[in-house]
């Protein structure tokens, strides 16, 4: 197996090296990848969506359908891992299973420090979410930071402590709800007569002059979409961690 793997990877590497001379040089401003489609986004994002962070506008609007299913991937991961790993204490006897030794976390130093830092992490997460239109950041990053804050709490104060704040019922429902917010915004656009995810159809909700209202509608719908993404990613990260760390029993973590 080892030699086979080596041969395959060397083969792939040599094939790729052959292609090098044909690729545009690194940093070429005029290569097709940098000019054909992507230039359109840079040219038009401001007047069509009003969002200066081009990554956010393309992520949530121009290619919003991708992002919706990306949220779907995270949601699938939660449901899939729950389906495979979750164990029921009513059906299986937890005493008979061999488990690694458990040392309850000592909250004296790490616990207190974590409790000190967690609120700041969460504030920063919310800032990243809300300011994603103007600076790096957005739904995913915010979701991961918020999820990481809960994971930190679980690692330092025991999984039970974190699970009492964000219970299993809640994180499954929240991950579904986030996906539903995203898809629901898209569906609302359909009810207002546009295509799926055509946020400008929501312009009547904004009021004001039609051309301005369309841009405004895109701007605000993007924020809603990012909020949906945040919900899903936050609960998903914590869900995956808690299933993995407790080996599916949901009683104690690392």
């Amino acid at each position: 197996m080892k030699t086979l793997a080596l041969v395959i990877s060397l083969l792939m590497g040599s094939i790729l090296v052959v292609s090098l001379d044909d690729l545009p040089a690194w940093g070429d401003v005029n290569s097709p990848a940098n000019s054909h489609v992507s230039a359109y986004y840079l040219d038009n994002t401001m007047q069509q969506t009003g969002v200066p962070n081009v990554v956010t506008s393309v992520l949530a609007d121009y290619r919003g359908f991708d992002t919706m299913f990306e949220t779907g991937v995270v949601f699938v991961a939660v449901i899939g891992i729950m389906a495979i790993l979750r164990r029921d204490q009513r059906l299986e006897d937890i005493e008979k299973v061999e488990r690694p030794p458990y040392f309850p976390p000592d909250p004296a130093i790490t616990g207190v420090a974590a409790r000190f830092i967690v609120p700041f992490m969460q504030i920063f997460g919310l800032y990243v979410l809300a300011h994603g239109h103007y600076s790096p950041g957005g739904g995913f990053q915010a979701g991961v930071i918020l999820g990481a804050s809960v994971i930190l709490l679980a690692m330092t104060n025991g999984l039970n402590g974190a699970l009492s704040r964000l219970t299993e019922d809640w994180f499954v429902l929240l991950s579904g709800l986030g996906f539903l917010i995203f898809a629901g915004v898209g569906l609302a656009c359909m009810f207002y007569g546009g295509n799926f995810l055509d946020y400008s159809a929501l312009a009547p909700l904004m009021g004001g002059e039609p051309s301005v209202a369309a841009v405004k509608a895109r701007y605000h719908a993007m924020l809603w979409v990012e909020i949906g993404v945040t919900f899903t990613v936050m609960s998903a990260m914590f869900a995956i961690y808690s299933y993995l760390a407790s080996d599916g029993w949901m009683d104690r973590g690392l």
């Binding site: 197996m1 401003v29 990848a33 992507s38």
Partner: protein
């Protein structure tokens, strides 16, 4: 040397792809396989990002013009050559998230196999399945 200077990013991508693929196929420990999978995906992300970089440009967030006081359409510098390619970055945001979801799923399976067979070495598991 000039060739190296022009292509070193792609060369790194190729080396990482090779390492990742080798680990995915050849490693015996299942967790190592999962880590190899992450390296493989990371290399592809690196490839896309290198493809979207432009010499002498900055991050794809529109800059305000000098002395602009409002945030209207005309107050931003709109010039595609000044900003990096946003498209490849968006694609790779998606790829990162897909990667972590796949990693979670793979690790779950490793844990279930450990519960079933008491080991996470591929050859020992195959021995026990027989």
């Amino acid at each position: 040397m000039a060739w190296l200077e022009a292509n070193y990013n792609y060369l790194l991508v190729i080396v990482l792809l090779m390492i990742g693929l080798w680990a995915m196929i050849g490693k015996n420990n299942l967790i190592k396989k999962c880590v190899g999978m992450c390296i493989f995906q990371n290399a592809i992300i690196m490839f896309f990002i290198s493809m979207g970089a432009k010499a002498g440009s900055t991050i794809p967030i529109l800059k305000l013009k000098e002395g602009a006081t409002t945030y209207g359409v005309n107050d931003y510098i709109i010039d595609p050559t000044q900003y990096d390619n946003p498209l490849t970055q968006i694609l790779m945001l998606t790829a990162i998230v897909v990667g972590v979801a796949t990693l979670g799923m793979a690790l779950t399976l490793v844990q279930k196999m450990y519960a079933e067979y008491g080991t996470c070495e591929e050859d020992e598991i195959l021995e026990k399945i027989k």
